[in-house]
């Protein structure tokens, strides 16, 4: 075979199975009784030609070459007559199955191609693409709207207070308490320091501020009897 001939073919075969099928068809041999020696020889010739043309031989082709050589060598092994009768596997069997399956899907691809051609004869309109429409739930009531507003408005007041609370530092609270004490003449019932305490945060802040003031001896704590009212007084005054 001329090298030019190879080139044409080398470009045609997508994979080793395609090449093998071509060789089988070309030699007009029975796929179930492949003359493995001859086919292997031709297969290797192609591989060599590929290398000659500096075509990267895909690893798949080399794997198949190895497989063919293995089968060929196994075919050459003499078989004991006893075992020959037993259902010993033909070394070519797996390859034949692969080739058959490959050929089957080649045929199937051709059938699908025909179906596609037939389908293309039917010209459809471009899809209109009706966008999904979102409809409002039934029975939206004005009362729901008013309720929602009332709820959000109430919580908004809280929300506002919360923001304010977060801005109250222990330092500020300390100032507040001292200011309050001075206004009240230096003496105040403990509970009154929490007068503005709408929330736990503010209570905690107030309490921390009190503890800090006590630690700094700016105020004193007095309680006349158990469970009686607790009084705060300005430290310096009492002093």
């Amino acid at each position: 075979m001329s090298t030019a001939e190879y080139k044409v073919r080398l470009e045609t075969f997508e994979g080793p199975l395609a090449l093998l099928m071509h060789l089988i068809d070309k030699n007009q041999v029975d796929i179930y009784d492949i003359p493995i020696a001859a086919i292997t020889e031709q297969y290797l010739e192609y591989i060599r030609a590929m290398e000659e043309f500096n075509i990267d031989v895909a690893s798949e082709f080399l794997v198949m070459a190895a497989t063919l050589l293995l089968i060929k060598s196994r075919m050459l092994l003499p078989k004991p007559p006893a075992e020959q009768l037993a259902d010993e596997e033909d070394p070519r069997q797996e390859l034949v199955q692969r080739l058959l399956e490959y050929r089957r899907f080649k045929q199937m691809a051709a059938t699908l191609e025909e179906m596609l051609r037939a389908r293309e004869q039917y010209v459809a309109r471009p899809a209109a693409g009706f966008a999904a429409k979102i409809v409002l739930p039934d029975g939206l009531r004005l009362d729901d709207l008013i309720e929602a507003f009332a709820a959000v408005w109430e919580s908004a007041v809280d929300e506002y207070a919360l923001i304010a609370r977060e801005e109250i530092s222990v330092q500020d609270k300390m100032q507040d308490i001292l200011l309050l004490l001075r206004k009240q003449g230096g003496r105040l019932e403990f509970a009154q320091t929490f007068i503005r305490s709408g929330s736990r945060t503010e209570m905690v802040t107030s309490f921390l501020a009190l503890l800090e003031l006590i630690r700094l001896k700016r105020i004193r704590i007095e309680q006349e009897r158990s469970f009686g009212p607790i009084y705060l007084s300005l430290g310096e005054v009492v002093h």
Binding site: A132, K133, L142
Partner: protein, 182 residues
């Protein structure tokens, strides 16, 4: 009609093209006179008049277009996938703020709700319950939102005047404890 089979050709051509097809273009493709095209289209129109047909041909700018019959628009509208929107609490609250405080900016809504409302506001705009109604004369000229006609429809209102007065609502709120004690 000796051109009988050409009616089918015209139907197929108008169908496949979608857009209107000029009469002379049809004539050229079918290798007949424009007058014949007009006659064939007239026949086609007649064929389509029956209740067992759903299509119609309309004359558009010197050409013809295949359409579904206008009276079947409600039926065709059935193709639209209808998804019932759930009004989340967040959506309802935001909508109520827009309804009672309009025109209102996102920032103002956020101040009342205490959370970011970008997503909710966009959803309400998409559902055409609220819309942009202008810009606030403030830094950044933020968008002002108001309710839409669809909003009125959804809540069965004739006009915004049917909304209860916000002042009353707030007054009600503050009076509530006293009323309850009575």
């Amino acid at each position: 009609m000796f051109y009988r089979h050409l009616k089918g050709h015209i139907e197929a051509l108008l169908f496949a093209n979608g857009n209107p097809v000029a009469a002379d273009k049809l004539a050229k493709i079918l290798a007949i006179d424009v007058e014949n095209v007009a006659a064939l289209v007239a026949e086609l129109k007649q064929d389509m008049a029956g209740a067992d047909r759903g299509l119609a041909i309309i004359d558009v700018a010197g050409g013809y277009q295949l359409c579904s019959k206008p009276e079947l628009a409600p039926v065709v509208g059935g193709l639209v996938e209808v998804q019932e929107a759930r009004m989340s609490l967040a959506a309802m609250e935001t909508l109520s703020i827009v309804a009672f405080k309009q025109p209102v900016t996102k920032q103002e809504i956020e101040h009342i709700r205490g959370v970011n409302v970008d997503g909710v506001v966009n959803t309400l705009v998409e559902r055409s319950l609220i819309k942009e109604v202008g810009r606030k004369e403030a830094i950044g000229r933020p968008i002002l939102y108001g309710t839409t006609d669809d909003f009125l429809k959804a809540f069965g209102l004739n006009s915004l005047a049917d909304l209860p007065d916000l002042a009353d609502l707030i007054a009600d709120d503050t009076n509530l404890p006293e009323e309850q004690t009575e």
